[in-house]
Each structure stands twice: as C-alpha cells, then as structure tokens.
Symmetry: D2
Subunit: 370 residues, 4 copies
C-alpha cells in the first residue's frame, strides 16, 4: 500500500481545515515533496487564506466535507482534524471507501469501548474500529503504523510526555507506587479557535491560565500508554495550564526513582540512558533530541542552557529533552518540549502518513525550529 511509483503524487484531504491543527497540516503538506494535492474542508464562509494568513498565496480553498467523503477513494489519506466525536462518524465511511485515515482527535486513542467510555463519559459509535486503530507515536509503533488503515494520532501532552519519560519507564527506574508528576504548559492554540472571553489576548498576556485541575482528560490516555511502557499500572498527576505563547508544549516532570535503583544515578548517567534509548546520529530517532550540554564554567549562565527551550522547537517536528537529577530527593526532573501543532499534532500525522505510504519518514518534516 505504498504510493504507487509513477503516480503524479500524493493526494491528501484535511477534514477540519479551519482549525489550528488543520491549518498546520496544510502548512506541512504544502512543502511535502511527494504531495501533489491538498484538499482542506471547512464549513466556514471565510476564505482559507484569511483563516490561515501564514499561508497567503498558497491557493488552497475550503470545500465541504461531503465532497471529500463522496470522493474518498481518490485520496491516499484523509487527516481528521475535527472536534471529538466527529472522527468516529467519518472514519467508517472513509475506510469503507478504501482510503487511509489518520485521526488527530481523541476518538480512537483507547483500545476498547469500555476504556473510551470511562475516559470520555460517552459511548463510542464505531467501537469495531477501536481494536484496529494504531496509536501513532511513530517512534514506538513504526511497524504497526506501516500497515495501518487507521491511525489514532496521540494528543500533544501525551506524545511529549511519552517521548520525554519512556526511557525512565521502560527501564524500571521510575518508582511504580507513586504518581508521575507532570506539570505541563500548552500554548493557546491548544484552546481551539472558537472565540471566548477567557482566551482573548488581553486575558492571557503576562499570565498563565490553569485548567482542568480536577483531572485532565488526557491523563487516562497517558496512563494507558505509560502502563504499556512500564509493564504495570502507572498513575499520572497531570497539572495543566495555558501559557502566554501560541505554540508549544512544555513539560516539566518529577519522577521518583525506584529506591533500589538510585545508586550511581547522576545527570550524566540519565542522559546516557536517554541517548542509548533514542540512538544518536543517523541511526537515532531523528525527531527526538537530547540536550546534554555540560555546565559552563561561568558563575551565572551555567544552568539555563542545559535544558530544552520551548521556542527552539517552534514550527518543527522535534521533541527536545533535557533533565537533571535531584540526588537529595532521588528525583529525576525531566523537561520535554515540542510544538503542540507539529510533533503534538499535524507533524506526527505527516510522519505517520509517510510511514503508511512507504515514503521517507522525514519527508516534509526536516525543518528546524526557530
């Protein structure tokens, strides 16, 4: 099921093209070397280039979603950038027509209807597809993605936390009987495009906007996946806020190390673990990069440059990871940053698309951050 040789190029539909994630998918696909056609859908009356002023001159125009559904067979893949609940309605229609589907919403992120119901408090309307959907952290599921018809693209908090903490979970370094504590700050593009008072510029600037402190709906998604990595149940204390930036997700996690495993642990040993886990250079995971800068000699700047920097991944598909070791408390503190619209959404989707179509995994995703 690769993009057939000699074809004039890949055709991709982006359902929900007027949202932040849909627009970002279009931005990435516009520079994808193998993509010949991009069809964004939306119900808005506003022209595409007004909704996405960064794509001025791209020539893209919205079509109704019905046009995509009716002609689904002509698309190599359809990205669903829709609100929750919409993908489970559309995916069966699209798959039946023979196209591949990458769902960027939360609809297919749980492996069975019971867990979906528990997390989302409603019934799934396409339960038969839940078992088939591949949870698409590409780095962890490359082989399954390759042959998937339906990929459940991970949430932005989830993918950043999973990549940021996998080496600690997978090796049993993390203490299993206490929650992982994850404080996450997300850009305001994560709040959606519907205008509302709380997200007006004047309300957010110079501030942080905590939310969902009774329990974030992505915590169960994280626990589900962390448990797979750890081979045991994991509790996740996820504390979330929006920050005064548009893009990006910044995660600062405190992981208590297993008492019997703390000997010899240091910043350096933990960094070595991460480098080994993700590989380095041409054999490594291209999109996961570990900041292992040494301490500088100077008295003042020495600390800041050793941790990832959110703005440094803006616009890119990279996750940057850094960490330190609090020997007094036996805690590893991990910082992981990504662009919530790229690696946290549309970039991962394109990465999965590349794998599904037999293209180079980095096609269209090589750009560095700003």
């Amino acid at each position: 099921m690769t993009a057939s040789p000699g074809s004039p190029g890949i055709r991709v539909a982006v359902v929900g093209g007027s949202g932040h994630t849909g627009g970002e998918a279009c931005r990435l696909l516009l520079n994808h070397p193998a993509v010949a056609e991009i069809v964004p859908t939306s119900r808005t009356d506003d022209p595409f280039e007004r909704v996405h002023p960064n794509l001025l001159g791209s020539g893209l125009e919205f079509v109704p979603v019905e046009e995509v559904v009716a002609a689904a067979a002509r698309f190599d893949a359809v990205l669903l950038c829709t609100p929750s609940g919409e993908a489970m309605r559309l995916a069966p229609l699209l798959l039946d027509a023979g196209t591949r589907v990458i769902d960027l919403s939360a609809d297919f992120r749980f492996p069975d209807p019971e867990r979906y119901r528990a997390a989302h408090d409603r019934e799934h309307t396409a339960p038969g597809l839940l078992g088939e959907a591949v949870y698409g952290v590409t780095e962890f599921a490359r082989d399954r993605v390759r042959t998937a018809r339906l990929v459940a693209n991970p949430g932005c908090y989830a993918i950043t936390a999973l990549l940021g903490l996998a080496p600690l979970l997978g090796t049993g370094l993390a203490r299993p009987d206490t929650p992982l504590h994850i404080a996450a700050v997300n850009g305001t593009t994560g709040a959606g495009v519907t205008p509302r008072t709380a997200i007006q510029h004047a309300e957010v600037v110079g501030s942080l906007l905590p939310y969902n402190l009774a329990g974030h709906r992505h915590a169960p998604e994280l626990e589900e996946r962390f448990a797979q990595l750890a081979g045991a149940p994991v509790a996740v204390d996820l504390s979330t806020a929006h920050g005064d930036f548009a893009r990006g997700i910044h995660i600062q996690a405190s992981v208590q190390l297993r008492p019997g495993r703390r000997d010899g642990v240091s910043r350096e040993s933990l960094l070595a673990l991460y480098r080994e886990h993700y590989g380095e250079g041409s054999s490594g995971e291209y999109f996961v990069r570990v900041n292992d800068q040494p301490s500088l000699g100077g008295p003042t700047d020495k600390d800041y440059g050793r941790f990832p920097h959110l703005a440094a991944v803006a616009g890119s598909n990279f996750v940057h990871i850094g960490l330190d070791h609090d020997a007094r408390l036996g805690i590893a503190r991990v910082v992981a940053v990504s662009d919530n619209l790229v690696k946290g959404a549309a970039g991962s989707a394109v990465q999965n698309l590349n794998v599904m179509l037999g293209l180079a995994e980095t096609d269209g995703l090589l750009g560095y951050g700003l």
Copy 2:
C-alpha cells in the same frame, strides 16, 4: 518602638536600590502615607530615574551605601535589597546603630548557622543574629515581627507556596510521607539585573526557561517552614522555570491527601477550609484571597475563571489562591500567584515595616493588581 506621634514621618533607606527589588521598594514607599524620606543606595553611575523609568519624576537619587551606614540612626528602618552575603555584613552595623533592619536576601532565613551552611554551602558571618531574626511571613508571625529588630523577609517562591499550602499542611490533610510537588514559574525580574545572554529578551520570549533542576536553593527554606506548619518533616519537590513575563510567581502544586482523610473531600470542602484558615472580609487576612468562583453553566469558559490569574496580582501585595480536587488520585491541586517583587519581596517588606512601626499593616499596600 512605634513611629513617634507628631514625627514628620518615617525615614527609610533602601540598600541595593538599583535592583528590581530595591526599585520596587521605592515605588511602594513613594506612595506610603507615613513615609517622609526614602534614601536608595547604589554603586551605579546611572541616575535613579534611568534605572527605574517607571519612577520618572520621583526625584529620588542614589547615594553610596556608606552614607546610610554612617547615618543609620536617623532611619526608622533599613531595607536590605542586596545580593546574598551582603546583608550579613551590613546588618550588625545597622542594628548596632539602633535602626531596624528588614533583609530581603536569603542571609537570615535559617534559624541557625548549621542549617544555613547546609543550604548555602558557606559560613554565616553573623551567626549571632540568626536566632534573633524573625522569618517574616507576616500572616504567620505578626506578633514576633511587631517587636523584631531584624526581619528575614521570605523568598518569593517560599512565601507564595507557604501561603498557598498552609491550610493543607497545618491540618494534616497532606500526606506526610511523600514530597509536596511544586511547579513554579517566576518572572524574569527574578533573574536579577546583571545582563546575561540567557536572559536577553530574544532568548526568553515565547519560551520557558527551566533552571536549578538538580534542586533549587529555596527548597530547604521551604522545607524548614513547612515542617513548622506540619509539625513534622516535609520534603519539597520544587521545579522551577522563568516564564515570558517580567513580574509574578505562579505556583501549581500537587498535594497527595492523607489516605485516611480523603472521605468527603471535594473542591468545595477544600475551599471552605481555606476560607476558614484565612478568614473573610474585615476579619480576614487582607492580602490572601481565595478564588472560590463556581463553575459557570457554559460549555467552554467554565473552568478557566475558577483559578487564579497571574496578571491579576501584578503590582499588588495580594496572593490569590485557587484549587481543585482530583478525586481519582486523591490529590489537591493548588494554584497560588503573587507578584514576586511585591508580596514576594518589597511588598512583604513594607508590610513587615508597617507592623514593626505600629502603623496600619496595609499602609501603602492597598492597591489592586492590574
């Protein structure tokens, strides 16, 4: 030792007047109804109003610190806004001359030289004063501040976290055998005024700047004080970063509730506990305000407005506290915000000054945030 009736007003020296904290002390004192004279000191050649452009037209001018030391007796109090190590040199001279001292640095925050050495890795040069210094969270130590000669003003992280978590610690609700997890974001004024690359504007904007992840030097200060509140040792996992704002400290804490005490706990019960702890209205703690806004009916905005908002305390001496209860994990998530230069530094100092001089505690501090 009150300000004598009929006096022409209070005279205050601000040593280290060219830093952010020193400038803020001047800003507050300029509008203090009982203050007649403010004398800031600095070694800089730059004029006061250039260093502090917000005080344009105030007429203040820097003098050498030696002038203040030589004339210490004529000041009702001296605020030390100096780098660590300087206050322990100056305080004995100033106290000997008969003035009161409020130290905004970390020099007098530990009750004995051993704990100071453990936290700061150097010897204290005025150990005889450590026992006398009153740790000045005014709300907790009002009576001792009233008669103090020397007040150790708390750190900005510490005072915000202490006020934010005291009701949980003091009542034994917090589980004692696991760390308090505190993720704190501080404005860049917290990084000082010495120019350095990492704090240049272009490096911080749109980002978060994690630091001190091997263990923040304020963690032991917090543990010292939390232990007093809890009556037992407390471990504090303090994870810090600078955010893309100049002022403010935003704390998001996860506190595991003691298993035997979780029955009946809810957001409402926790809010009631806080309201009771700090009082309400005219009998309450003026500067500590609990956000107990109910959930709104609307589907979208309902959550954001129930938590404190950093920008809302900018320029003010208030701490705003909000919280929620994660029933699934048995965790209370607490958000506490303050202006790191006001309640976190100069405002608390003025509050303590007021108490020491027998003035109304709110004098010069009534202003609401922006």
Copy 3:
C-alpha cells in the same frame, strides 16, 4: 458643588462596569480616599469578581443600569463606560436627576451635531448637550471641568497625542501645511471585551494588528483639538495597530518643523520647551513627565534609556514624553506613552471627577507604573 464637608464620602456609579474601562474605574475608585461607595452596572450574569479577577475580594457586585438611573440623585457622579450611542441616551436622564456625568465614550467629544455626524456618520440624539460638555483633558481645561455637569472624557489616542504634541503645536513650531504623522500602538484592551477571532490570544501574540488604515475614527477628534491648540487647521495622519500587550498606548510621532523656526533647534531645546510647557516639580503638571535623560557614555545602551517606556506607565495615570531631533530632515520625533485604561480612560475620568468635586486632583491616582 463640592463634596460636602462632613459627608460620609463620595458615591460613584460606573455604568458599563463589565468592560475593561469600567473595571479599571472600579480599581481606581476602590483605593480613592474620598470614595465611600462604588456601584458598577452590567447586564452580564457573571459575577463581578470573575469578570475582573484582579478585584478578587473587593466585594463589588453588578446591578442593572436601571437601578442607577432610578436613584441617580444619590450619586455624586456617574461614569459612563458604555459603547458609543449609549451615553447620549443616558446622560440627559442622569443630568436631569441632578448628578454629574463623565462620559468615557465618544458621544460628547464634538462641540456640535454637524461635526459629530461628519465623524460618526449618524445623528446625535442629545444635541442640546454637546455645547455644554467639556472636553476633559484636565491639564488643558481644568477651570471648565471644575464647574461642568457633563465631561466628555477624551479618547486614549487623543489624550496621549494631545499631551505629547501640545508644546509643538501651541508654539507654532510644527509646520502647518503638512500632516502630523502619528503611528500609534494600542494594547488589546482597546479592542473591547466581546470575544472575536481576531483578538484571540493565539492570533495576536508575537504580532502587531494594524487596523482602520482607511482613516481612524479618532483622527477627526484629534484634528478638532489640535486645531484649537494651533489656532489653525491641522491634518492628522493617524496610523494604528494593536500590539502584543494588554495595556498601554505608545505613540511615535514625526512633526515637521516650520522651516523658518528650525534655527537653533536641538533635542535639548525641544526638551526645554516641554519642561517649560508642563512645569516641573511641585508647580508642574503632576501627570505629565518628560524624559530628558542624557546620552550615556557607553557605546551600546546610550540611546534606549532616553525615550519613554510603555511598561513603565502600566497601571498609572502618567504620560511619559520623550523626543529627539532629526536635524537632517527638520523633524521632531516625539514618543508619548500612557496606560490606555488609566490616563487614556478611567484615570482621566477620576482626575476630572476630583476636579469636579473639589477634591485634590491626584486623589486615588498617585500610584507609579510598574
């Protein structure tokens, strides 16, 4: 018509209390030493302290505007912080009931119905009051404000530009036959509180948002008032944008100097002119401050500190003015900054209120910026 001695204090209603300007009026009045009662009105169902989280704990609550109209006589003054068109409906009712009115909207800023119609393209419904309304740049109209029943508070662009350029206009230094070029950047509080896509945080952050480039509706207001200062018609080229900040108005103006008057002009001579115009120290205009910092010797920082700094007036009622002289082009470049919600709106209103009630003009307005 002063606040009667022995009275328990001033009573003020703030109509339109849920907007940015109305909330700011409440913030200032809450710390006003002579104000005993503040009654904000709004039609919103949200509680006051949720709409204005900075005023948490203030205890204020919204009432319907009808309650204020029905009891107008018991208020010493009513501030109208309403959308355009509403003040001309309410002012006659309030004035008839015997209270004073300060209108912060654009309804009463033109002296006759024809000019109002030309600027706003609709009929005025209370034309009989236009002649009576005093245009309230307090510094220019103190005596008329003192006895006014109805004050038209100036727009934020207008008052900042008028105070910033008056010394050049009034002395004939500005060339009369070419427009004043004013590039103004306003905070997003200037865009109102109605949620809309263009002002969502994610759309504004890191950007500037130009608007009204076919001609800003405040340009005629400016021309009307500049003409009074200059004694001749003045054309104003006003170019506007919102910037990535909540509060503040930053004006950068280029004023071509009259060819016959350029001899001997220098930065220093222009600064002297401004200092003379506004006075200095206790005899000067308290809220207008000129930045006349000299160039420093250093090679790099020397220039920045000589001009006003927007953040330095945040929250305050000050206008800071700086300038330089481009000798090559014969142009004076003037920078004037204010807080659009304070000196540009609610602060000026309180300043006018103080004058109308015979109070000290600076009452409630002494605070410095941040």
Copy 4:
C-alpha cells in the same frame, strides 16, 4: 559559475556564525537541498548547539574564521554575518581566493566611498569593491546578482520597506516633495547578541523600545535605493523601535499621493497596482505576497484580516504587503512585514546565493511562516 553538475553539493561558510543572523543562515542551509557542507565560524567558546538551541543535533561546530580564510577557495560562497567593519576587511581576501561573498552587514551597501562616509562617518577600507558590489534585493537585481562576485545584502528595514513601497515609488504615485513616513518595529534579535541591560527580557516585555530617533543609520540606505526607484531624490522619515517579539519587522508607512494622481485611487486600485507589479501565481515574485482580502460582512472582525500579520511570516522568506487608502488625506497606508532574520537577512542571502550559483531561487526557502 554555476554549481557544477555532478558535484557532491555546495559548500558554504558562515562567518560570524554565533550571531542571530549567522545562526539563521545555518538553519536555512541545513535544509537546503543542494548544500553539502556548512562551516560556521565564531570566536566564542560555547558550543554551536548551545548558542543555537534550535539546531540541537545538527552536528555543526564553530571553527575559527582564519580557517575559512585560509581555505576560501574550497567554498562556493562565504556569507559574512559580521559586525560592521569586518566585512570590508575580509571580503578582499575571500574574493582574491576565488570564492563568492555575500555580505549581510552594512559594509557594501553604498555605491561609492563618499556616500558610505556620509552615512557611517568613517572611511571605507575596501573602496575599490564598492562599485562592484551588487545591492541584493533579488527581486530588483536578479540579473546583476547572477553574475556577481560580491553581493551587498540589504538591511532588514530597507528590504521590507523597498518591497513594500516600490509600486508606489516606481509609478510616480508618491508625492515627491514630502518625506515617506515609515514607522518600523523590529524584533529584539535586531539588537544583536551582546548582553546589555536595555535588552534584558524584563526591560522589554510588555513594552516598545524606541531608538535612533535622531535619525536611523538605515535611512540613507533607504533614500539611496528609493531614489533609484523613483528616479528622483526621496526623503525618508524612518522612526524605529524594538517590539516585544524576537523576530520580525513590521513597517507601517504613510505615503502622500501626488495631488494630480489621486483621481480614481482606492484600496482596490492600489492593490491592483501591487498585484501587477509583483505578478501573481507561477509568474509572480514568489516571496512577495499581497494581502487583498475583502472586507467581511461582520460588524467587528471585518478590518483586521485585511492587513498583514507579523507572526504569519515568522521563519519564512516571505514579505506580506497590505494597504488601505485614506481618501480624506490622500494618503496610502502600507503595511509590510517580514522576518528580519530571513527575508531581512539570511533568507535573502540564501536567495542571492541560489541565483549566484544557478540554482532554483526558492531552494531551501519554500517554508511558510508560522
């Protein structure tokens, strides 16, 4: 002098690789399809990936500039991202060795030593090269760039203003006897990397930082080039400030239209002029895009979306241009935005490099903004 077919790829040295512009050149070259080797130089001891955290994992390392000079012949081109004065020292050495030079500093932007001296107040040390250097606004000088050995890359203000106003200047629509008024706001990357107080984050956030108001050193560069476009002398009133963003240059210009040419002028006619000037679609200038969005029907959002949006070009090589017509004053107001580090510096340099080497002009530059 094209990149020879069959060659293993282009080799480029970036002298001054630790500055913002040098780092940006590396970012773009890292994704350039024809570039095989990038050699950045710097005197700093800090590792490349610490100085440019966005390029984490790129593997680039600094070498001393002397290494590049000694091996100049092996580079297809050298980009000089050096402080003023350094390029005129290095360019002769590099050209003599047979490589091409693109200078991103101001050293070669004037065609003769007299005009250089007038603008920069010092002697040029390589005056013999001034006549040869091609001023590289690629869109205006493509043919001369193609055969150039030495390209003087334009300043960021200059290229944005030139592209933004060329259609008005070249057609004689702009009134010649009065200055062009250009208010420009530049990101703080434009202030360089040397740490200094005025550019510390806490000093800039929430503010604007005016500078060089006695006359910006780029004004003569602009006048030189505008005069070429207009065929007559042009005066430029350039008013500059840094804004609270890292990247980007936002220009808002007021151009008085020639009185005899105002008939029939409208926003639409001006937009048509711009579209004709720059072409559209595949025959148009790829990097110059005109925002001609119509007014929307809604009462509130209708205006904002019709003008360029600074953040929308971040990271890209595009200039977005929008405008409106103030019929009352006979003024065209033009907004032009670019990324000061890309189209304003390194992107233009790569664009020129592509032309000089016979590559596709858009190679490595296709990316859209964020």
